[in-house]
Amino acid sequence: MSKQGEGRLYDEKDLTERLKNGEEAAFETLVKAHQREIYHLALKMMGNHDDADEVTQRTFINVYRKIATFKGKSKLRTWIYRIAVNQAKNRFRERSRTAGLPEEFAPADPSPPVTQMLEQEAMRSLLSRAIAALPHLQKAVVSLRVNEQLAFSEIAAIVGCSTGSAKVNYHHGVKRLREMLQAHREREG
């Protein structure tokens, strides 16, 4: 038994085989086991519910579509995350093409009522927007590290870079978040 999700356990090898055989119950198990983590990763990367929902759906559809190509060289979860990160990147491209926005820009509400929120909620809201505004690779690395506490080697396998590059991008991402937070605090006095 290797993975827990929504309170149930499954054997990864067995589930993969069942998925390859097109067993519907296996697909449902997979979706329900991973839907929360994929949705929250997508939400962090996209910055809004609608896009996160779209990325989540596309991720699972692609998992089903491509399961025949999964050879078990990585963990199933790593593979699913990699699909999710690529789907988020594709979604950004689509949006930037239709809206004429730079690809790395995450449209976020420019003036949420931060001052009316509790301090902690305000910080989370600010951080949420700040993460969504990071360049794509930094955003993916930071989200996978702070949300899922994945090892840098696993993150590297998901985003398709070296472990060293994952660490560097994490450093740059956190540094950028810190700068954004400090700038915000200075503005707020």
């Binding site: 929902d53 491509k66 990585s74 690529n86 989370r124 930071v142 398709g160």
Partner: protein, 224 residues
């Protein structure tokens, strides 16, 4: 070796320390500095707080029932898209090719496929841009278009065995495709034609595009 550290040095290494990525010796030195320096302790606390809060940011649950109905929604969408859940998984394109080809034949087939895919995207891009003020020399081979060939190619490459990937990379490693070829070799291990490789393919020099266009007999001139 046990020289005391400066605040700037600690600040630069703090994130590695917090993430448990420092060597034991370095961690010990950082710890010693933190013990004596209130400013750096404050910075450490802020950093830990930032990481912790960043982990909770966007953790807000979607509307009630969202996760309960996500699977039925995905299932219905797949039905609409002609991919009903419950049907046996479709063998990958690479597997189907492997069944009828194999070895170098598969590599040749895929290399040809990638070249044709590049040509299709190139054609689309040229049609999209037309002769602009910058002249056709500004035209780039754009993998970011919605051209399906890239996705098809990525699907195939994803399922190749290492040896097959090497063969494809070798075939692609001629003058025009040397960049893509080397990247394909790098990606041999995880067998994924990543977006970065697609972007590299997209980043071919104008003269390479011209050469490719000439080889494929496309009606394209870089300078008009």
């Amino acid at each position: 070796m046990n020289k005391s550290m400066q605040c700037k040095e600690v600040s630069d290494l703090l994130l590695d320390y917090i993430e448990g990525e420092s060597t034991p010796e370095l961690s010990e030195r950082i710890r010693a500095h933190l013990k004596a320096c209130e400013r750096c302790r404050r910075e450490e606390a802020e950093m830990r707080d930032l990481i912790s809060e960043a982990g909770r940011a966007s953790d807000a649950e979607p509307s009630p029932g969202y996760f309960e109905y996500l699977y039925p929604r995905i299932k219905a969408r797949m039905q609409e898209e002609g991919l009903p859940v419950g049907s046996p998984a479709i063998p990958s394109t690479a597997q189907r090719l492997r069944d009828v080809l194999g070895g170098w034949h598969l590599a040749y087939a895929l290399a040809s496929f990638l070249i044709v895919a590049a040509a299709v995207v190139l054609t689309i891009r040229i049609v999209d841009t037309g002769p602009g003020p910058g002249g056709a020399g500004e035209v780039e081979l754009a993998a970011t278009t919605s051209a399906d060939p890239w996705h098809d190619a990525a699907d195939i490459v994803e399922d190749l065995e290492s040896e097959e990937l090497t063969q494809v990379a070798a075939l692609l490693s001629d003058e025009v495709y040397k960049t893509a070829g080397s990247l394909l070799e790098q990606e041999e291990e995880d067998g994924l034609l990543s977006l970065s490789t697609q972007e590299t393919l997209a980043g071919l020099e104008t003269w390479q595009i011209e050469q490719l266009a000439e080889e494929l007999e496309l009606d394209y001139k870089a300078s008009s």
